[in-house]
């Protein structure tokens, strides 16, 4: 017997599981008194250059958020954090959880005018899964062992092992058969906008896809993603009206621009923490790690650097992933407990305090600011911390790759997969840059891999969060808010629980 999941069902299940409540808070749709109009073009300010145009190869969050408008997978994420059918209309999952059968949506066209065929889907998934040349481009898809064409409209994907979270990876872009190997391969997808041009250092321009399968979308004729590397310049250009949407306002910028534009606020998908190198001689002592957790006054940090708009956390899970999140803020309190910190340090054998080096990627002003506040707070507990500011590539090599550091303040950007933030803390994970090594954690994670359903996994994920917090793997701080400036002439901007800028729903108001 096969369990048939139409997307209607998926939608409600995902809604229950994810419960991401996407737009959490403001959305500019409250402008109901004004009418949406078609046409017009918008300039969106972006912070850094894109790292490529190949949807399977790009890795930067700042690139993926743009390509979301051009490419679509078999499924895609909607603003509630639910998966909806895109190139596929529906899918079936076999009882053993290994075989996904996708039925393609009729009439979905690529930007070159060709209809999407089963061959295109097979090619795209095989390319991303590394079945073509042995190099998986999308890591989770590497467990895919075969992609078979059942008939013109049906594709069957077989996985080598069960992973209830694999469905999230089918958001991988569908591209025309063979297009990745073409000379002069233009980025061609099925999304609401088609690619027009890309100029390094300047930006990327996209225009309306007239044949888009979701009728009525998009509203805009053209969107110009313009690279503005400095925040001050961005502010000036917002004031001058050259830029209509800017999704990366700092707290200070938001205050300054509020009177002229709409400032929309929603929780981000970044988990910021003071990460410990658990293999460090000093920090391998759990009492020292706990002492630092106690010493932090996270409410004060958040007030200082995020204007109080952040959500305080104590473990590695987004509070917006409601079905998976467990509030552990009582573990160390949120306002700092200096006495307890000192007591733990004394117990650990450091009654006179300790020295701590915090490595911070200096291009992130937010993390730098956080570090300054943290250093002051730790002082009170007899922890003499100093900041080592490094550039991003040095950070990547020294901290992330070689794990040659003591502690660091940075943030992990989560994707939709619920386990994304937790699976990296398994002791032998390649992504475990904090060298977290807990037998309990590893044991529970072993059960996660056995669990066949997302519901079962959810319970185990809560256990993992608790272990991580209790053993003070790192001092988790906050999930900062995203603050987006949107021109008063625009409506329809939507927040997603993933890092994307969906321009298809944005329109000029009359």
């Amino acid at each position: 017997m096969k369990k048939l999941l139409t997307f209607f069902v998926t939608l409600s299940i995902a809604a229950a599981l994810c419960g991401c409540a996407g737009g959490t808070g403001a959305s500019s749709e409250d402008k109901t008194s004004k009418e949406a109009t078609y046409g017009g073009s918008v300039v969106v300010g972006i912070q850094q250059d894109i790292d490529g145009l190949d949807p399977h190869k790009v890795t930067a969050a700042g690139t993926k958020e743009i390509l979301f408008n051009i490419f679509e997978g078999l499924v895609k994420c909607d603003s509630n954090g639910d998966l909806i059918g895109a190139v596929a209309e529906k899918y079936e999952l076999s009882d053993d959880g290994l075989t996904y059968t996708f039925t393609l949506r009729p009439g979905v066209k690529f930007h070159n005018g060709n209809e999407v065929t089963a061959e295109d889907v097979k090619y795209s998934i095989e390319r991303a899964a590394g079945l073509l040349d042995g190099t998986p481009l999308v890591s989770p898809l590497s467990i895919v062992t075969a992609v078979d064409i059942v008939d013109e409209k049906t594709v069957r994907v077989t996985a080598g092992s069960v992973n209830p979270e694999l469905i999230y990876s089918f958001t991988t872009a569908i591209i025309p058969n063979g297009s990745g190997e073409d000379e002069n391969a233009d980025p061609i997808g099925t999304g609401p906008f088609r690619f027009v041009s890309y100029t390094p250092q300047e930006g990327i321009v996209i225009e309306k896809n007239e044949d888009y399968w979701q009728k009525g979308l998009p509203y805009l004729d053209q969107v110009d993603f313009k690279i503005i590397t400095s925040a001050e310049t961005a502010l000036v250009e917002l004031k001058a009206g050259t830029v209509q949407v800017y999704p990366y306002l700092t707290d200070a910028m938001a205050t300054e621009i509020e009177s002229q534009m709409q400032v929309l606020v929603s929780p981000s998908v970044n988990v910021q923490a003071l990460f410990f190198n658990n293999a460090d001689e000093l920090l391998s002592n759990v009492k020292v790690r706990q002492a630092i957790c106690y010493a932090l006054n996270r409410e004060e940090v958040s007030e200082f650097v995020a204007g109080g708009d952040a959500t305080i956390i104590s473990s590695a899970m987004l509070p917006t992933l409601e079905s998976y999140y467990v509030d552990l803020n009582d573990t160390y309190g949120t306002t700092g407990n200096v006495d307890k910190a000192k007591e733990l340090l004394a117990e650990a054998g450091y009654p006179d305090g300790i020295d701590l080096t915090i490595t911070v990627p200096s291009n992130y002003e937010f993390h730098m600011d956080t570090a300054e506040v943290v250093v002051e707070q730790l002082k009170a507990a007899g922890i003499n911390a100093k900041i080592d500011a490094v550039d991003w590539n040095t950070w990547l090599e020294d901290v992330y790759t070689n794990r040659n550091y003591q502690s660091t303040i940075c943030a992990i950007t989560s994707d939709m997969t619920p386990g994304y933030l937790l699976n990296r803390f398994v002791s032998d994970s390649k992504k475990n840059f904090i060298n977290f090594n807990s037998a309990d954690f590893d044991a529970v994670y072993g059960n996660v891999l056995e669990a066949k359903s997302l519901g079962e996994r959810g319970i185990l994920y809560k256990e993992l969060q608790k272990i991580l917090a209790d053993e003070a793997g790192s001092a988790f701080i906050q999930v900062p808010a995203n603050k987006v400036a949107v021109s008063n002439e625009l409506g329809g901007y939507k927040f997603y629980p993933v890092y994307v800028q969906d321009m298809s729903t944005v329109y000029y108001v009359k």
């Binding site: 145009l53 297009s179 050259t242 090599e397």
Partner: protein, 319 residues
């Protein structure tokens, strides 16, 4: 002729040394281009594949020789970071070719403004006996030199863009699309670059003019009954300009090498911005070519300064 051959040889040797040093520097600084491109999520297979694709699996000496050989044949290589489309990387020549005219024109505009304002101000200042004007110019030039370039850029944008609405910040148009709009936008970043340079050059000219005014030949001219103006413009200025030419040469080299900060503030797609972002992403082929270009500009500008010197001062020619 021998002079030109000598200069050309110096140019080639310097370029070679600089390219080796830049290559070495890139071997030493931390940060791996492969992690930089692929981020933290890539599979080891992909990292390996990319390393091979970029030729980074070869030993450094072999890589340098391959790169240098390419440059000698006119092939500047491809960027590690920028792609042309889904499948091809952007050739460095194409990447820089687009940005170079922007920076060169910006430098040209800034230089025209500097010379246009600095020389009259400097001469006027040296010649004035008005205490107030002297004091005012002193304060103004000091201030213009003291303001950090970044702040000055923002100040110019606010004043001319937001307050006076003479231009729209961020509305840069490529010269390929609309020359008029390009020029009228570029004037403002050029002003931001020119202001401190005007201050410096004017001060420099004033000081060297005052020194010259105290020379023996000025006294001789005066005693034979020359008018002050004639002395200033016919005799003194020619001599006073000598050090100023060197100074302007230095300024030109600096501006052409990329007005990094001003390009950032005005969102200009010039090579200054490209250099900074390429260093931070460890895009070696781009950085190496930009460094070579800057070296070349500096050497060529000094060479031109040398020639002008010879024209202005016959003594050097005799030597």
């Amino acid at each position: 002729m021998a002079y030109i051959i000598k200069k050309t040889a110096t140019l080639i040797i310097t370029l070679f040394l600089v390219s080796v040093l830049a290559f070495l520097a890139f071997q030493i600084i931390p940060g791996d281009v492969v992690t930089s491109i692929l981020g933290t999520e890539a599979t080891p297979e992909r990292e390996e594949a990319l390393r091979e694709e970029l030729g980074l699996d070869k030993p450094p000496v072999q890589r340098y020789i391959k790169w240098a050989g390419g440059v000698l044949r006119g092939d500047l290589g491809v960027s590690y970071r920028y792609s042309k489309n889904m499948n091809e990387m952007m050739p460095v020549s194409e990447l820089i070719g687009d940005k170079l005219p922007v920076t060169l024109l910006l430098a040209l505009f800034a230089m025209i403004l500097t010379i246009l304002f600095a020389i009259p101000i400097g001469v006027l200042w040296a010649g004035t006996k008005n205490k107030f004007l002297d004091g005012a110019l002193n304060v103004l030039t000091q201030t213009s030199m003291a303001i950090p370039a970044f702040f000055l850029g923002i100040l110019v944008t606010y004043l001319f863009g937001i307050v006076l609405k003479m231009f729209t910040p961020g509305s840069y148009v490529s010269y390929k699309k609309d020359v008029g709009a390009f020029v009228s936008y570029m004037i403002f970043p050029a002003i931001a670059i020119a202001i401190p340079k005007i201050g410096m050059t004017a001060r420099f000219l004033r000081n060297s003019t005052l020194t010259e005014l105290r020379s023996d030949y000025v006294r001789t001219a005066k005693s034979k009954g020359c008018e002050d103006k004639t002395i200033l413009f016919k005799h003194v200025l020619r001599n006073a300009m000598l050090p100023v030419v060197t100074f302007i040469g230095m300024i030109i080299a600096e501006t052409v090498a990329g007005s990094i900060v001003v390009e950032q503030v005005f969102s200009l797609p010039g090579i200054g911005r490209l250099l900074i972002s390429s260093i931070s992403t460890r895009d070696f082929p781009v950085v190496e070519i930009l460094i070579m270009y800057i070296t070349m500009v500096v050497i060529v500008v000094y060479f031109i300064v040398d020639i002008i010197y010879r024209e202005l001062d016959p003594r050097i020619r005799v030597e």
